[in-house]
């Protein structure tokens, strides 16, 4: 055990650190990537909104927005202008200061996530050694913003939405983090760039179960549709942002899609090999992978009905949590067996294990049948 660890430490120290070789050094690097990240997030979020609406339309046998601009490409712009021109209403019973701060508190952590996402080898704002841990830490602050919004609105539906948020976020954080640990075991580093460099075989093949768990709990964490309990419009109006309008509502809308983008980028980095790929330039590969992951999210959104709150908790604690523990254990054993890196044989083994486990779980864990006790 300890010899293995020492070996891993050596490996880590030997791995190539990418120096910021920019003219003007530190400050130029900082300015350049800050601008790039903000532009990247805003552009891709617009792309996501268009892509989601069109893809949803296609899947639901309708056209989707196609009137504004060629192919309806200007629809997100029109939406943005509409929402920005609307009146900004603060309810009478609201806690004004907290109501005003909430969108900002929700927005900043999401932007901070992109600081450690590599767009290309070493092309990132900062290559933190604790990359993925930093992402987990920063993204957990976003919940506070949702809480502030829900509480300060002085509205029971907002409050209920915020309460549901904590239930889902706290529960799904556990399988999320446990499935990341599998990736970290394989890559031997927490740095996002090193994780990409370590993926000679994309980790989706070596960690198929981990990918599935991460995808499901990621969707729940950012409240994408099968799990969007905190804004279930048939039950609690619009959840935590019921009382928001105008610019502040636009902020929450932006946060929602920026979180989806962040989650897609993290999945692309951790499991799909990040910027690695043949022929095309690395950043293009990265963006293509982001859109592939986001398409999976749209697909699940349009296919699956919204789960009930008890089903949501049962799925987290009885379904994903044990699976994540088993996945972690199996990965640990495999890393001990093949300390030099997992061979292609492990891909086959892991896929077989995933299929067997999923079949087993679907046997004694049926979600659709009536009320599940929690």
């Amino acid at each position: 055990m300890s010899s293995y660890l020492n070996q891993m430490l050596l490996q880590h120290e030997a791995s190539v650190r990418v120096p910021p070789d920019w003219p003007g050094g530190y400050w130029f690097h900082w300015l350049f990537f800050t601008v790039v990240i903000i532009a990247f997030v805003l552009t891709i979020v617009m792309g996501f909104i268009y892509f989601e609406r069109r893809a949803l339309g296609r899947i639901q046998s309708r056209l989707g927005p196609n009137r504004t601009g060629p192919f309806g490409l200007l629809q997100p712009v029109a939406d943005a202008i509409k929402v920005l021109l609307k009146e900004d209403i603060i309810p009478d019973k609201a806690d004004k200061l907290v109501h005003w701060l909430a969108p900002i508190v929700a927005f900043f952590p999401v932007m901070l996530i992109f600081a450690v996402i590599p767009f290309q080898n070493g092309a990132m704002l900062v290559d933190l050694d604790i990359g993925i841990l930093y992402i987990m830490a920063v993204s957990s602050v976003s919940t506070i913003g949702i809480f502030m919004a829900g509480w300060s609105s002085g509205n029971k539906y907002s409050l209920l939405g915020a309460m549901r948020a904590v239930a889902s976020v706290v529960s799904y954080e556990i399988p999320l983090v446990l499935s990341i640990i599998g990736v970290i075991l394989l890559s031997g580093s927490l740095s996002m760039n090193q994780i990409v460099i370590a993926q000679n075989i994309p980790f989706i093949l070596l960690q198929p179960l981990g990918f599935l768990l991460f995808f499901i709990s990621g969707c729940a964490e950012i409240n994408r549709s099968p799990f969007d309990m905190l804004e279930a419009d048939s039950e609690i109006v619009a959840g935590f942002h019921t009382e928001y309008s105008g610019m502040k509502f636009a902020m929450f809308y932006l946060v929602e899609y920026a979180e989806a983008l962040a989650m897609s980028a993290i999945i692309a980095t951790l499991f799909l090999g990040g910027w690695r790929g043949p022929v095309l330039p690395p950043w293009l590969w990265f963006i293509i992978k982001i859109f592939v992951v986001f398409f999976l999210m749209i697909w699940t959104r349009s296919t699956l009905p919204r789960v009930r709150i008890d089903q949501l908790m049962a799925l987290a604690w009885k379904g994903l949590f044990p699976l994540a523990l088993i996945n972690l254990f199996i990965t640990g054993v495999e890393v001990l067996l093949w300390p030099a890196g997992l061979p292609w044989l492990a891909v086959l083994i892991n896929i077989v294990i995933m299929v067997v486990l999923l079949l087993l779980w679907s046997r004694f864990f049926k979600l659709g049948w009536g009320r599940v006790e929690i």
């Binding site: 055990m1 300890s2 660890l5 020492n6 891993m8 430490l9 880590h12 120290e13 806690d95 200061l97 907290v98 933190l128 050694d129 604790i130 841990l133 930093y134 987990m136 830490a137 920063v138 957990s140 602050v141 919940t143 506070i144 809480f147 502030m148 509480w151 409050l159 915020a162 309460m163 904590v166 976020v169 706290v170 954080e173 927490l190």
Partner: protein
């Protein structure tokens, strides 16, 4: 220079946040103030080159514990009026001042040893070696996890419906 500026800003924010927790009438705002204080402490960890500790501080204290505190507050009625001051207001103040005096006295008079070695980089691998490696702290770590598990089981037993 830069570090000193960062330290003073973070220190002032942390103390202002801590004072806010005590002085604000509105319990929800007090909880938000606590979060601000904890974030500032995480920032202080970063200025001390303890990046891992800072991330864990945010993850656990801001992401988990504060969220639970806020959840508890949301279940409370009449949050905006705050808690009415009880009979123990003045004794509690005296005890707090005494405690602060003792801690401040101890901190000022301790001869702190300052390491001359440069901060470790990267910290995670070294931490892992210390925690799980040979002659590390694997036993205390495991005992701590068993303790936490026992606490979780205890909580489940306490709240289970008979």
């Amino acid at each position: 220079m830069g570090l000193a500026i960062a330290f003073w800003i973070l220190a002032i924010v942390a103390i202002a946040g801590a004072l806010g927790v005590v002085l604000l009438k509105n319990v929800f705002r007090a909880a938000l103030s606590l979060i601000l204080c904890l974030l500032a402490v995480a920032g202080l960890f970063i200025t001390l080159s303890a990046d891992f500790l800072a991330a864990v501080q945010i993850l656990i204290y801001v992401g988990a514990i504060s969220v639970l505190i806020i959840l508890a507050i949301m279940l409370t009625r009449e949050v905006t009026q705050g808690s009415p001051s009880g009979r123990f207001r003045i004794p509690a103040f005296i005890v707090a001042v005494l405690f602060f005096a003792v801690v401040a006295y101890a901190m000022v008079n301790t001869n702190w040893q300052i390491a001359t070695a440069p901060p470790l980089e990267p910290t995670t691998a070294a931490l892992a070696g210390k925690l799980f490696g040979e002659k590390g702290f694997i036993l205390p770590l495991e005992i701590a996890s068993v303790l936490l598990l026992a606490a979780i089981l205890g909580a489940i037993v306490l709240v289970r419906e008979k």
